[in-house]
Amino acid sequence: MAQIKINALKLNVVTDHGLFETFSTFTNGLNIVRAKNSTGKSSFTNSILYALGVEELLGGTNGKTMKPVLREELTYQGNSYKVLESNVEIQISNNNGNTISIRRWITSSTREEKLIEVEYGPSLTEDKKFKKQDFYVHLPGSAQNDAGFHSFLAEFVGWDLPLVPSFEDKERLLYIQTLFPLFFIEQIKGWSSFYAQPTSNYGIRELPTRAIEYILGLDILNNSKQKEELRIEKALISQEWSSLINAIREKANIIGATIEGLSDKPELLSNHEIYVYDKNQKLISLKERISNILYEFNERSTVVRSIKDVEKEHEARINNIENKVLALQSEANSVRQDINASIINQNTLDANRSQLQQDLKSNQDVKRLLDLGSDKSLYVAQGICPTCNQKIHETLLPQDIEFQPMTLEENIKYIKDQLATLKFALSQSANVVAEKNKRLRAVTEALEEERRRLRSLKLELREDPRMLSNLDIEETLNLKWKIKELQEAENSFEEFGKKLDLLKKQWEQYLKSTKKIPEEFFSQLDKTKLETFEKRFRYYLEQFGYSSTPLNDISISLDKFTPVVRGFDIKFDSSASDFIRLRWAFALSLNYSTNHYGGNHPRLVIMDEPGQQQMNINSTGKLFYSLSELKSQSIIASSLTLEEIKSITQKIEVNIIDLGDEYIIKPQTN
């Protein structure tokens, strides 16, 4: 479980008149750090951020974010002292009871500001020395490298920071800095919004939402990650599928086969069948064709006949084949004519398409002109007559004729629609031509074969009748070749079929996984968390005396996780002091949710001067009471007087750290 517990904080300033310092220890519950205004109270709380390397919340990086008293000149009791060197030391523990001390220099002639020294033990509260190691911050890799302080700190705290969508293609780490605004409210920016963004958004989309999601530990982060993985899997399967389909089609083309029922995209129920032309140019299934040829082959392969044996047969066949050749010729012609007609049709469509594309370009040009014209504030560009200020229709045809021209946008859409239709028609027509070409090939091949056969038959009749019939042997051999070719193709198709089945299984797996991801965006636990968050938020508001809007109208928005009033930004409906109350309630509810339903809140709340906007002292009292109830550590810097603080914390357990009315960094006393 994530946790940051701050045990002690120490600021050291070496001046030309000796060492100045301030040191405080904190309890695990409510700590109130009291000091007069402008005596370094904010320097004290902000130094926590500095020590942890998250000073970007203060609007910058490195030593310059700290006040000049820690860098240049320290004033104490009216005297000024030159700062020679200064650093901040903080001792923190985590949930496992490990304690480390962190030391970072603000100004020094020898130590880099980007270096952070970590001592593996409670060196601030115990007078012992421990092993030391240097880490760095604000350099590339400080969030992910082993030597980067933030990757070390995240691990120490118990944060497993997620990758979240960025403005670029790849995902980015939800940097540690982005979480701090949700539990560390600093004085300058912290009180003005629910999430005071650090200096940059780190290229992360919807940064506040992602940070709140993580602090609440919502499952949706996980869900969206799974969805992303599935999206990639889908793309992979689809790609493999389509390359497999292409391979099958190519193979089919080689043997002049036609495939039916093969879908371009993965489909569980897809079942394809392969057809080829038989010797009568009819489409039959590949299997049937193979068995037909095999039958024919087996019938004739047993005997080799001489010409005398086949003479009669040959004569009958010659007549037959002559008729067949004629029929095939006329069929080839008609298929050719069909193809020609289709090609002409295709060319017309193509010409239409290029004309339309030109039209589209011209229309888009005019659209650009319209923008240019509007820049130059032309009346015509706005569809207004420059003379009479009446609306004109956007054409140069006589303005008084009765028709309604399309507006430019409508016209562009109209052309685009036409283009889409044409594109479809073109692809259909290409399919038709390809199919007809296959048919033509089958027909012409058959024609050539029959003619060849006719020649051979006639030739053989003139040969010596005792010789073996060449033709008979050739035909038998051809059949054998054909069988081999088709069987090979069939084997490949079977291989492809197996691969396709495998892909179908993967696809089925993918479909099952998509079903498993909750239909609803939020998991059951997410819902409970958000409901508790909302309930607790209202409860705190009631405690703190919020009165700007009825509490029942307030809810937590489910897309941004910030409070809204009837769906609108609550900021507009709240008075200045009530907005501070909202901010208190928001910070406390986030913590409460983690305490009760788990989450990644470090169970630490730090507020610099919660008594903003002339806050009612009783409300502040309620805040202190609620914080002490929260079972988390809180460190509150306040400029109320000691009597005021005591009067509102009478009945609660509290550690009051009074830094006095003088400047808080004081000369070292031995």
């Binding site: 005019v366 014209g373 032309l378 560009a381 007559c385 956007e394 054409t395 140069l396 016209n411 052309i415």
Partner: protein
């Protein structure tokens, strides 16, 4: 086609909007006018016939060549140059929009500063009106008043 009209209780007609060729959009012609004045006219002014001549030339890329021939010798093979009333309407709009001015005494249209700005803006865009810009650059100031008067006079006889 046989339609079962006898079964229809009511027939409604809806007027559909009609697509318009981009060259009949006012801004196209206006853009052409300011480009002609800015890129191919002496003193940034020209008369009506010059606009009609270019409007005819812009309609197809093949006419680029014919126009170049005409410049060399306005008397040869005079083509049939169509007069397009939409050019006149575009000129009226352009005058009213203060892109150009019309002088009654000379009968010429002159480019005003707003029109020049518009023309420059179009010239700056490298991917629109490229055909027009190319032709106008080729022609430059060579379509003089003299060329026009010869060309159209010969046509009238």
């Amino acid at each position: 086609m046989d339609l079962p009209y006898e079964h229809a209780k009511k027939i409604t007609f809806t007027r559909r909007k009609i697509p318009v060729s981009p060259e009949y959009r006012p801004l196209t012609k206006i853009a052409q006018i300011v480009l002609i004045l800015s890129m191919a006219s002496r003193g940034k002014s020209a008369n009506l016939l010059k606009f009609q001549l270019f409007n005819w030339a812009f309609k197809s890329r093949e006419r680029d060549r014919i126009l170049l021939l005409i410049i060399q010798d306005p008397l040869i093979t005079p083509p049939l140059i169509s007069m397009d009333p939409s050019v006149n309407r575009a000129l009226q709009f352009a005058v009213a929009d203060k892109l150009i001015s019309f002088s009654e005494s000379t009968g010429k249209f002159t480019l005003l500063s707003k029109g020049e700005e518009f023309a420059q803006a179009i010239i700056k865009e490298t991917d629109i009106f490229n055909a027009e810009k190319e032709l106008l650059t080729k022609i430059g100031l060579k379509v003089t008043d003299k060329v026009i008067s010869i060309l159209f006079k010969e046509r009238l006889i």
